[in-house]
Amino acid sequence: MATGWLIFIAIVLIVVVLFQVTRTLDLVGQLRGGERTTVEMTRFHAMLGLIFIALGMIGFFYSFPLFSDRMVDKHSSNNAIIISKMFLITLWVTGIVFVITNVLLFWFAWQFRHRPGNEAVHFAHSNKLEFIWTIVPTIVLTGLVVFGLQAWTEIMGPAEEDATVVEVTGQQFFWSSRYPGPDGKLGPRDNDLICADNPLGIVTREWVEHRRVTLAGSKKLNHVGEIEVLQNREKEIQELIKQYTAIIDGSPNKYIVAATQDTLALIEKELGKIPGKITIREKALDRINKKYTEEYIAAHADEFTWGYDDPMPSEVHVPVNKQAYLKIMALDVLHNFYIPHMDVKMDAVPGMPTSFKFTPLITTNDKRQELANNPAWSIIEEGDDKPRYAKFNYEVACAELCGTGHSAMKYTLVVDSQEDYDKWIAAQASKWSQVAGSLKLENGFSKYAPVPAPATPMATTTTTPSDTITISLK
């Protein structure tokens, strides 16, 4: 601590001395006459300006290649190629302007500095000049707009018919994905049907039934519904409050009283939230009952079967050289499905599916081979058995602030060759179609059927946000 104070005092002293020096400089300047000082100061700082811009430009040209290989992947997807081209064009245009104007700025400051014999010229305007620098930027920008919009339409335009459709869903703080099963159709989803067993709210006859039972309960299945659980909890808390109040009123020990009051405050807070939770569930049940009538289900009989065979793997696979079409959804807040290598970036919006398409051009394996040539990637890190490149994967991140765990929303994209992909998707389909079978239960309630755990990080759903982050980051 003592050294800390010493350092602090030293800094203060240095600052004081420096300040006294600057004050003296100012005063001396005044004594020697303002004009002479102005000329000298102007010369000095104009020179500094020249040095500054020279160093700046050297820094610019030096550091640019230094980082360019780290910047982005320029060829792993069609988007990356298109955007890199646009980027390069814009970089040239702006780069030239950047260098010229900045250099001129500091050079003028030097060249036309105040000094004996230099006189300013009353040059207030020139229509010709102003016309030139209105029209030239306009033309250049028009070019950029035209190229830019061409690229934009290409990237955002309608997807191809045979594109691989993948549905990805973001929630705090992980991604999950779903594929259309062998029938080639993604089952519909409904927010009201979301529950622990059906985390995405897939709509099938059974899941509708299941949700009815989880909400309202069922005497036949001896299952207590969520609404009733909450009502019971409410009664329980009211009972607890009575007990605690009795303790507070009766106990002579002030520490016990204080502790009990704290607990009381907590459970009263919980009690306050229960009616709202009950209302929400009653409303959901009401909507489910209203919407999924027998006639409705009969009218949409087909759609109700689409969800049976949809695999929900724990990572995204897409075949190489074929367009992938992402349907992007969110359950709670905004997220953004971001694949840096592929230049894929699109918000996930609760309540409105968005979409984005891209064509991966290099498989994960080929990319690893490509990286093997890079010395930075061929090292074997401590405690590892394989070199860095062998563990390379295309990563998915979240690019829209979504809360505490925003920086931990990592997911994996695997680009397969067509054969690998076919094998993989077939395996997934067979694995998940069993699930579909298990859902078709006669009593319409699958709670006790072997529903496989959904995509890995689901376990964290029940923890509070602040817990999640410590788990996932440390």
Partner: protein, 622 residues
């Protein structure tokens, strides 16, 4: 002439002349409270804005230092901060992620609204408008005072939110729903966002009162001869800034009202189909994208609210200190106007990747890139102003030149971002952070510094320490470039990340981040030098002894060295020419108050492109 007309006209007259009577009422010396605290004098209010702005700039800067420590030195042991920050520092001595989010949110909010809107426009609009157009004070001194105190109140509310158990708003300065609409989605969302929204609403009232005053004053209270096209450029900039403020802030107000309703009254304007951590919500039918549209309908004009005053002041300072008329005065005004108009129709370029209609997006691309044209005109005009000038490089001039440089560097990257296809790569990455910090953060700060150094003698009757000013300038411009230029290389690195360590794709930037953080800390320390210089000079700076130390043409330099209430002791001076007659007819400068001579042609009267030639021939005659 009907009786009605005469009464009607009569009102106008009473009010037009009202201001000449104004100062008669104030001959008695007001008490301390009326003079310095609840003052209605525009100069005092402007100083109040400036000092409050400086306070908020220190707070906002400090927050950025904290989160830069997390980014640059993630392993640093900050246990010693525990006494101040409590649970926001983890047991391992690191900033916790929730606090990191709160830091970036508050940093953005404070700097955008409290420092660069209120602190910049509030200070200089208040100070310069009456002085430069020749008015005794603002149109309504009372509303002007209220404007400051609403700003103060907004600040108090925001400041209180730091001390909430669950912390201040932590969902980003843009406060996007649903993250900021839900009480349970983040800790800041529990109560912090409510404080944030209320504070913003109060701030909007303040901004509105201020802006109405600025506009009305400029329209109605110009002194005799002060035509619109004889107004100095800062006044044009303040006028248009105020216009933008009056028209765009209300839209933020409606967005904030809707968000407050969603948070507290169970409505669903921005919410639809939400299931938060397994808990279903009853909301249905809204759209989060709606908020973004409303927000950016304000938010984009807001960046021009920040940068226009700086542009105006820089134009003035460049002209004064290069002893040359600003080049293309009319073009400067029209480009300001063009920027103002365009600022209202480009908002969605912040939203290309948010799920909005890509076709509408492409229309926004076209509008957005058009803005580059007036901006380019301004830059070229500034450069030409320097060309063949007689440049005095004192701190205000250096900061003005620095502004131009930063505006170029930061503005050019806007061409990348405005192009929707490139924005796919750049959206929400450090490239964006670098862009807007250079172009509207640091550049606006440079405009502000230039203004403070330039008009400090008028504000306080003393000079700031020049040597400290030089150190401040070179340190700041170097630090600013060293912070934000390398940030462009972090092109694919997503912003608002507590740590990038979880991703292979984002690795390799640790050293760069450390470098940037170090520079940020140095740059913050340098600003304290300015703060010291500012307050020290108010009391102990070298006294101003001449009325017009810079040899400037504008009206504020015709007032006494320390102007009292009412600004001019005698009559308000009359104006006879435009404000940029420097180095004309062999004279260093001709004040605006000097009548035109017989042979002289006023600038802009003939619209001839050989203006300079004519003047040369005039010179030969003379």
């Amino acid at each position: 002439m009907s009786a009605e007309t005469s009464t009607h006209a009569h009102h106008v007259d009473t009010h037009a002349h009202g201001h000449d009577h104004h100062d008669h009422d104030h001959h008695h010396e007001p008490g301390f409270i009326r003079k310095y605290i609840f003052s209605e004098d525009h100069k005092t209010i402007s100083k109040q804005f400036l000092i409050t702005g400086i306070f908020w700039a220190i707070v906002g800067g400090l927050l950025s230092v904290l989160f830069r420590i997390q980014l640059g030195y993630p392993d640093a042991d900050l246990t010693w901060m525990k006494p101040f920050l409590g649970k926001w520092i983890s047991e391992e001595g690191q900033i916790v992620p929730e606090f990191y989010n709160a830091l970036i949110t508050m940093h953005g909010t404070i700097l955008v609204f409290f420092v660069l809107t209120a602190g910049l426009s509030g200070t200089f609009s208040n100070f310069l408008i009456p002085l430069m157009i020749g008015a005794r004070d603002m149109a309504s001194g009372f509303l002007n005072m209220l404007s400051y105190w609403f700003f103060f109140l907004a600040g108090v509310i925001m400041f209180i939110s730091f001390f909430l158990a669950t912390g201040p708003a932590s969902g980003g300065w843009t406060a996007y729903p649903p993250l900021n609409a839900l009480h349970d989605a983040s800790q800041g969302g529990v109560l912090g966002v409510d404080f944030w929204l209320v504070s913003m609403a109060v701030f909007i009232v303040s901004s509105l009162l201020g802006s109405l005053n600025y506009i009305t004053t400029i329209i109605n209270l110009r002194t005799k001869g002060m035509k619109m096209f004889r107004m100095p450029l800062p006044i044009w900039a303040f006028l248009l800034t105020a216009v933008i403020g009056v028209l765009s802030f209300p839209v933020l107000l409606s967005a904030a009202i809707l968000l407050l309703f969603d948070r507290n009254l169970g409505t669903s304007f921005y919410l639809d189909a939400i299931n938060l951590a397994g808990e279903p919500l009853a909301n249905a039918g809204g759209s989060p994208i709606l908020y973004q549209h409303l927000f950016w309908f304000l938010g984009h004009p807001e960046v021009y609210i920040i940068i226009l005053p700086a542009m105006g002041m820089v134009s003035e300072i460049l002209s004064v200190h290069s002893r040359k008329p600003i080049f293309g005065y009319t073009a400067m005004i029209y480009s300001l106007l063009a920027i103002t108009v365009l600022s209202f129709i480009v908002w969605a370029h912040h939203m290309f990747m948010t799920g909005m209609n890509p076709f509408i997006g492409s229309i926004f691309v076209i509008f957005t890139l058009i803005i580059a044209v007036p901006s380019a005109i301004k830059v070229f005009n500034w450069l030409t102003t320097l060309w063949r000038g007689n440049i005095r490089l004192n701190p205000p001039m250096l900061f003005a030149i620095g502004f131009v440089s930063l505006f170029i560097s930061g503005g050019l990257t806007g061409i990348f971002l405005g192009n929707s296809s490139i924005d796919i790569r750049l959206h929400d990455t450090y490239f964006v952070v670098a862009h807007f910090h250079l172009v509207m953060g640091v550049a606006a700060f440079f405009g502000m510094f230039a203004g403070v150094y330039h008009w400090f003698p008028k504000m306080f009757g003393r000079y700031m320490n020049q040597t400290l000013g030089y150190i401040h300038f070179w340190g700041t411009i170097a630090a600013a470039y060293l912070i934000f230029f390398p940030m462009h290389w972090e092109i694919a690195l997503p912003r608002r990340y507590y740590t990038h360590s979880g991703f292979e794709a984002f690795s390799g930037f640790e050293q760069l981040n450390m470098f940037i953080s170090t520079m940020a800390i140095i740059s913050f320390a340098l600003q304290l030098l300015f703060v010291f210089n500012f307050f020290y000079s108010i009391f102990f700076g070298r006294k101003v002894r001449e009325m017009n130390p810079y040899g400037a043409t504008t009206l504020e330099w015709t007032t006494p060295i320390r102007p009292g209430h009412g600004n001019w002791e005698g009559d308000i001076p009359e104006v006879h020419r435009w404000p940029y007659d420097y180095s004309k007819h062999g004279r260093d400068f001709i004040p605006q108050t000097e009548p035109l001579t017989q042979y002289e042609i006023e600038h802009g009267e003939h619209g001839d492109e050989h203006d300079s030639d004519i003047i040369k021939s005039e010179e030969h005659k003379g």
